[in-house]
Symmetry: C2
Subunit: 201 residues, 2 copies
Amino acid sequence: MSSAYTESLNRLIEEFGKLPGVGPKTAERLAFHVLKAEQSEAMALAEAIKDVKIKIKRCRTCYNFSEEPICSICSDPRRDKSLICIVEQPKDVIALEKTGACKWVYHVLGGHLAPLEGIEPENLTIDKLVERVRNGDVKEVIMATNPNMAGDGTSLYISSLIKSTGVKITRLARGLPAGSTIEYASGKILTDAINGRQELD
Amino acid sequence: MSSAYTESLNRLIEEFGKLPGVGPKTAERLAFHVLKAEQSEAMALAEAIKDVKIKIKRCRTCYNFSEEPICSICSDPRRDKSLICIVEQPKDVIALEKTGACKWVYHVLGGHLAPLEGIEPENLTIDKLVERVRNGDVKEVIMATNPNMAGDGTSLYISSLIKSTGVKITRLARGLPAGSTIEYASGKILTDAINGRQELD
């Protein structure tokens, strides 16, 4: 950080530099853009940043981002509240919603179990989920955690907690990603595809 | 091609250059390697190339590569010959066999239907497959063509031909590739994963 800059400029560069994927050079460029920009533009950016932090909270039901106490998905009467899709992060909700195939509601865990990194069940919203399943009229819980070790482990742990309620527990299909080729698929992917093969209609 | 080289060297460079991924410079380097190599090494390479062309034929049953009239998979008594897995290319057999999960036999189509490129059903081994299904004691045909438009089209065409025999027709599962993340999965992949979700046990 060059000390030829004023203190406030240095601080802005430093703050921009904390953003993911923003290195010192990019941070400097962003900071200079702000410096040269119209007052209104710079203020709008600052306000937008503040607003996000102030207004966006967690939905009290599903723990997705929401500006209201209950998010727009949980309060949508057309959604089937007896189907709960479990995801790790709010970004996963966005990815799934883009398909237009989802009539369900969500439960956002806030990550996956990672005991070695200190992420235990109590650091996620697992207890709230168990409560939802026990209290609500839930028919099916769809596990949509990431298809890797951490996601699978988290799903299995949750499954062990709610199995006794008799709720149907499913998970998103594993198999060949559409548009790929058999030749370059990994052994794990092919094994999933073989074991999960379904009747062609 | 420099004309300073002798005719035979030029021809070798040209031939190496026809290999996939081998540009003129690489072809030249390979050719010079051969030129400088021990006589025995060069001859061994030449023989190996010839051998492959002379010895490797197509299995009379499944059309996979084979040095015998019937390939090692088709002649393996431990294989369940009532399950036929349909693949486009011999490379797909190798990929599937690596999983160790396959107890079936194969049918290698030799590609996929592509009418615009002039690849019609008669250019593949589809008629031989229909014959196998009609004559043999086949219980299930597993479609393992590539999970893309060409592969799916080929599978559907074959399915339409053999459906009347009453044989069970399945295809490899579509869904999330193991080890990936929900966030970066395409809409098509997620839709497959949602529609094909299966009970978690």
